[in-house]
Subunit: 206 residues, 2 copies
């Protein structure tokens, strides 16, 4: 499979399809159509067919998609048929929430290390984890081989911590700090900023 | 200004530009270029110029963009020159984090009501708020005129709560529950699902 040329925008939709298919499966469904999936995710059936056709022939004319098969294919394409260890950096409210979040387990991820720089938090238990000292972050992440991190530190220190994560070998950062991060080529950043999510909707309001 | 025909994908990038420009302003800068902005946000200069040109002529050939002016224009386009009241529903870890989040104040939003259905939480203080009973949600939101909500309830009840929010007059939902929501035409949903964010990056990893 030659993936190099597939636009980011298509890749960004695949996890949405995967989540909706998992939900259909949980509801006891075995097959679906691009029309039905389109209604659930709010994307046109034609777009869904076009997106999926980039990766092969997953549906049959007239019978639609086998949900379990398509889930398996999408998990493989997105590389979440395995489980990735993730570091959480910053044990404020948001880091706390992520360290205890129950939604990762069957989606391909597992929180494996949590960090903070506050002496009052270092060594404390959060969910199943003991908070590690931020000063150990480069060594600890390097030793563990972790390449994914969720960044929940204040905006003022987010870039500095990002530089440490990159130094430690992290290749993908989910950024909760309300700031755009500078990273070298080859490092990915996704932003989960609630203000951005809200601002994407107010445009449409009266 | 005729906004009806502008693609969602362009609208979705404007808050990213706005955040980056605010950051430049905080750093003491007065002007920028599409090239410089492009490096910060990871979007090509040509795309940025094309996106902004949908709304008017904001930059000058040779001198670039006046940051304060462009911030003002973007805030107006996105309708965040005003402050929107937002309801937070579900006072688990994530709702807790959002109710106490300091990053909304200068981005156009203010948490105004928080809800939970747990008798142990109702009436308790979270940040500046007293947790209200979920059973009052339709009346309370309707009386307040709130049209934005952040949904942080468990996946199993997310659709049911969404239906109540829609009944209460909410027009835009920021969804933290790991499930696709069904909403009537005219209601907007944005998803902040950490697994989706991570899955959008693992595709690119070795």
């Amino acid at each position: 499979m030659e993936n190099q040329m597939i636009p980011d925008i298509i890749i960004s939709r695949l996890p949405i399809y995967l989540r909706a298919l998992r939900h259909m499966q949980d509801m006891g469904k075995f097959t679906t159509s691009s029309q039905e999936l389109g209604v659930v995710v709010g994307i046109s059936a034609a777009q869904i067919r076009k997106d999926l056709s980039q990766f092969g022939e997953f549906g049959k004319q007239g019978t639609g998609y086998d949900i379990a098969f398509l889930i398996g294919q999408l998990r493989e394409i997105l590389k979440v048929e395995r489980v990735w260890d993730v570091a959480v950096v910053g044990m404020g409210d948001m880091g706390h929430a992520l360290a205890r979040y129950q939604g990762f387990s069957d989606r391909g991820f597992r929180v494996a290390l949590v960090f903070d720089n506050d002496p009052a938090k270092i060594g404390a238990q959060v969910g199943n984890f003991v908070v590690r000292d931020m000063h150990e972050i480069v060594g600890a992440i390097r030793n563990s081989g972790i390449r994914l991190a969720m960044l929940c530190v204040p905006a003022q220190v987010a870039q500095e911590v990002t530089d440490l994560l990159v130094e430690a070998g992290v290749k993908a950062i989910l950024n909760y700090a309300p700031i755009s991060l500078s990273v070298p080529a080859g490092i990915r950043v996704q932003y989960l900023d609630p203000s951005i999510g809200l601002q994407r909707m107010t445009y449409y309001m009266d």
